[in-house]
């Protein structure tokens, strides 16, 4: 017998199967549905605020929403970044390894065999793709809602300048990428936790607890020295995308910070997965 032996299933097929698996999950569908509701709710809320106050609808980005519908997707993404998006990412990460271990399917994959690093890659790909999809979906719904409720005439930046529609779409896409990358970093850490347990709830709870602890640590001025290490403290700075001219230093910095978390998370997950008993 000299037939060639395939030792790995084709990667594309594995990735496709992973995505289909995530999308078939009822909680994925519900989660994505909720994410779509957020920009609509935020938009309607701001619309009433603008109507009633006759002045700025709120602090920060909300202040420039009047007549400036293209800000809504960006506003919504920043609104969801601290809690909602990490939660969704953590759910996918939790289901990815802990959930599969819990339902007994992880050992099936390992015996197939899917190499453990390959398995981590497939899982990371699934979560990353779904995160990008979720953020894009949210931004899309936000854009439509924003234009419908507030209209648009280019995009007013918080620097007071007005961007063309093309540039505005560029800013929205940039925000999608930046927010997605932050979400990846959180999900990577969640994936590392996921590799250590068989209980998806533990992963979700640990991830959210971690974020809350980070947020609390960031609130103490006596812990200022800790700030540059906290991924959460970089999130406020993402509002830079709404400045003109675009200041890139802070954005690079927060992205680099997220990249560090991403590398740490994936590396820890790899170590755990490779040494783990299935």
């Amino acid at each position: 017998m000299t037939t060639a032996v395939a030792t790995r299933a084709p990667l594309a097929r594995q990735l496709r199967s992973e995505l289909r698996w995530i999308l078939r999950r009822p909680r994925t569908v519900i989660g994505l549905g909720l994410l779509c509701v957020v920009p609509v709710l935020a938009g309607v809320g701001l619309w009433f605020a603008v109507d009633n106050a006759g002045g700025p609808a709120g602090p920060g980005l909300a202040a420039i929403i009047a007549g400036n519908g293209l800000v809504l997707p960006i506003f919504t993404l920043f609104l969801s970044l601290p809690l909602l998006l990490p939660l969704v990412g953590a759910i996918w990460a939790a289901d990815g390894l802990a959930g599969e271990a819990n339902s007994g399917t992880l050992r099936g994959l390992m015996v197939a065999p899917v190499g453990r690093i390959r398995l981590l890659g497939v899982k990371a790909f699934g979560i990353a793709t779904m995160s990008l999809f979720a953020v894009t979906l949210m931004a899309f719904v936000g854009t439509i809602t924003g234009i419908a409720l507030f209209g648009m005439d280019g995009m007013l930046t918080i620097s007071g300048t007005t961007l063309s529609v093309g540039a505005a779409v560029g800013r929205i896409v940039l925000t999608i990428l930046l927010v997605t990358f932050q979400m990846w970093a959180v999900a990577a850490v969640a994936l590392a936790i996921s590799a250590c347990t068989e209980h998806p709830l533990v992963v979700m709870a640990a991830t959210m607890a971690g974020l809350i602890v980070f947020a609390v640590l960031g609130a103490f001025s006596s812990l200022d020295w800790l700030q540059p290490y906290l991924i959460t403290s970089a999130w406020d700075g993402l509002a830079d995308v709404m400045r003109d001219p675009l200041p890139t230093e802070g954005l690079w910095n927060s992205t680099a910070l997220a990249a560090c978390y991403l590398v740490i998370g994936l590396s820890l997950a790899a170590i755990r997965l490779v040494t783990k008993d299935g």
């Binding site: 199967s17 698996w21 007994g104 050992r107 015996v111 190499g115």
Partner: protein, 336 residues
């Protein structure tokens, strides 16, 4: 890569030793201070249907998990289809189908979708033949009718069958079934037996773990008995039983003098119904007869007892510690 697993195995067959589908040496696994498995030397000949017997907690599942590369042994080595684990896993595992620790599937997917997902990760399946392989496997375990239903709603037996179907997605060289008849009704059990029989006929090697002795006795050609984390006996089932049937049932009315004579000759014997039962340990049947005749004991009938697997298993696993050790030696010598 053009070397197939069997190509690697073949050189071994040129030697005098039989080709082994799986082989472990000095396998040991500890969890903290607990020793789960110790000094397991398992030889699984190619083409055999080996039953792995042992009480709960005897290390069956741990051994199987180490055999499949799921668990890393603390000590010792595993060779699967001629390749060492874990480095050779990528080459050997595609040829291995397994149902370990119960079926594992996603409750929110249908049986068919579950199998499709499992099939997507099977290296030996061409992408084009995934669908057909899934339908064939469903058909084979009798789940074709229920394939569209969610796994959540499956009965225990259906779940078990789906697990079997996943192990049978690809023609395998080795199939490892951990408690395959768990939760199955008698009809389901018969089907599993048939599947195993078919696999055996087709030349696959099967490793079945079970605590159901009758099942093992019915379908296995080989058996390995695990007790307290170690293999206390292994070999061909017939040989093992033969070796164990080393007792003589001597029917006599003169029980007392028979016992005295045999004990004087240091032959182990005890009273039994209508006579005495003589253990042929360290002695032979003619020697027993000679002793009895010399003692003028009337022998009406003497028969070699045929112990069932159940007796063997009971003796191996329920014996006291010291007794147990000597028994193991005896049995293992007998088995070789």
């Amino acid at each position: 890569m053009t070397t197939s697993t069997s190509a690697r195995v073949e050189p071994a067959s040129a030697g005098s030793t039989p080709v082994l589908a799986a082989r472990t040496r000095g396998l040991r696994k500890t969890y903290g201070n607990t020793v789960a498995v110790d000094r397991v030397d398992l030889d699984l000949p190619e083409g055999a249907v080996m039953g792995m017997l042992g009480p709960n907690g005897s290390g069956k599942t741990t051994t199987i998990r180490m055999l499949l590369g799921l668990v890393r042994p603390t000590e010792g080595e595993v060779e699967l289809l001629g390749r060492p684990l874990p480095d050779g896993a990528a080459e050997s595992l595609p040829h291995v189908g397994a149902l370990v620790e119960g079926p594992g599937f996603h409750p929110f997917l249908s049986g068919r979708e579950n199998l499709r997902r499992a099939a997507a990760f099977e290296p030996l399946l061409a992408t084009g033949s995934v669908k057909q392989a899934v339908e064939d496997a469903l058909e084979r375990v009798g789940l074709a009718q229920a394939a569209h239903r969610r796994y959540r709603g499956y009965s225990l037996g259906m779940k078990q069958r789906l697990g079997l179907a996943a192990a049978l997605l690809v023609p395998r060289k080795l199939i490892v079934l951990d408690e395959p008849t768990n939760g199955l009704d008698p009809a389901g059990t018969r089907e599993v037996r048939k599947v195993v029989h078919d696999l055996h006929t087709a030349g696959s090697t099967v490793l079945v773990s079970s605590h159901l002795l009758s099942e093992i006795e019915a379908i296995c050609t080989h058996v390995a008995v695990l007790h307290r984390g170690t293999v206390v006996a292994q070999g061909e089932l017939a040989e093992l039983l033969q070796a164990d049937s080393s007792a003589l049932q001597v029917t006599t009315s003169d029980v007392d003098s028979a016992l005295n004579a045999l004990r004087a000759a240091r032959i182990s014997a005890r009273p039994a119904e209508d006579g005495v039962r003589v253990e042929l340990i360290g002695t032979t049947a003619p020697a027993v007869f000679r002793t009895l005749v010399q003692a003028d004991v009337e022998i009406q009938e003497a028969t070699r007892t045929r112990t069932g697997l159940e007796d063997l298993f009971a003796r191996l696993t329920e014996a006291g510690e010291s007794d147990h050790l000597s028994t193991v030696d005896t049995i293992e010598q007998g088995a070789r």
